[in-house]
């Protein structure tokens, strides 16, 4: 249990840092969805199945979709070159 928790927490926090550091916004969006998934797993560990399900469906699924649609509308939904010059592509 504690090892599982440690791994999930480390991955979640890593993804959260990646959201801020990735130059490519589409990649950052994917990382944000990963954070939601990680948090959903933590909710399962905490015996909150309702919350976990909502976080997975809303946080990772719906919110990822909304973000991706907004990116497409902004004309930034590309993986190739980030707006900042592509320090950290994908």
């Amino acid at each position: 249990m504690i090892w599982l928790a440690l791994v999930v927490v480390a991955l979640t926090l890593g993804a959260a840092v990646a959201v801020l550091l990735l130059d490519n916004l589409l990649a950052a969006t994917a990382a944000a969805s990963a954070v939601s998934l990680g948090v959903a797993v933590i909710f399962v560990l905490l015996h909150a199945p309702d919350v976990a399900m909502t976080e997975a469906v809303v946080g990772a699924g719906l919110s990822g979709l909304i973000l991706a649609l907004a990116l497409r509308r902004l004309g930034l939904a590309r993986l190739d070159v980030g707006p900042g010059g592509g320090r950290n592509d994908a």
Binding site: L20, V39, D50, V51
Partner: protein, 151 residues
């Protein structure tokens, strides 16, 4: 062991909050601010669920009308359900605003957008900006407030 695992979860919740708040404060990109906000909210939600967690307890679902074992506190879970949905609504609204800002001012940079906004407010109010007399970096004159300011 018990306090250790508690500490791990606490660090996750507080870490997410601090990373998210830091992202909002440090980032100049409007879109990334929206992402950072989602992270900060996830951290706050995690802390709320932690507030109802109990050792040796199961998920709060009755089977056969009886409580089989001690259950974790359902109230924070209900609150978090509410908070998650509120969060996604706010996020969607923020994104529509980002789309419009990009369209009107052609930038996703908070600093630039703010300068242009202040210049536009000054222009509609017919005030010359107090310090800098020159136009903001946008080379073309500011777009007229399309649709007309409401009054």
């Amino acid at each position: 062991m018990t306090t250790q695992i508690g500490l791990v979860f606490f660090i996750a919740a507080i870490g997410l909050c601090v990373i998210g708040i830091g992202g909002i404060v440090l980032s100049r990109n409007l879109f990334r601010m929206v992402l950072a906000l989602a992270i900060a909210e996830a951290g706050a939600n995690l802390l709320l669920v932690l507030a109802g967690y109990r050792w040796d307890a199961v998920a709060p679902i009755l089977s056969a009308g009886q409580m089989p074992a001690p259950m974790v506190d359902p109230v924070p879970q209900a609150m978090v359900l509410t908070a998650i949905v509120i969060g996604v609504g706010v996020q969607a609204l923020a994104l529509t605003l980002v789309v419009r800002v990009k369209q009107r001012y052609g930038t996703l940079d908070m600093q630039l957008a703010r300068e242009r906004m202040n210049a536009e407010i000054d222009a509609t109010a017919d005030v010359t900006p107090p310090r800098s007399q020159e136009r903001p970096r946008g080379e073309r004159p500011l777009p007229a407030p399309a649709g007309g300011a409401h009054d």
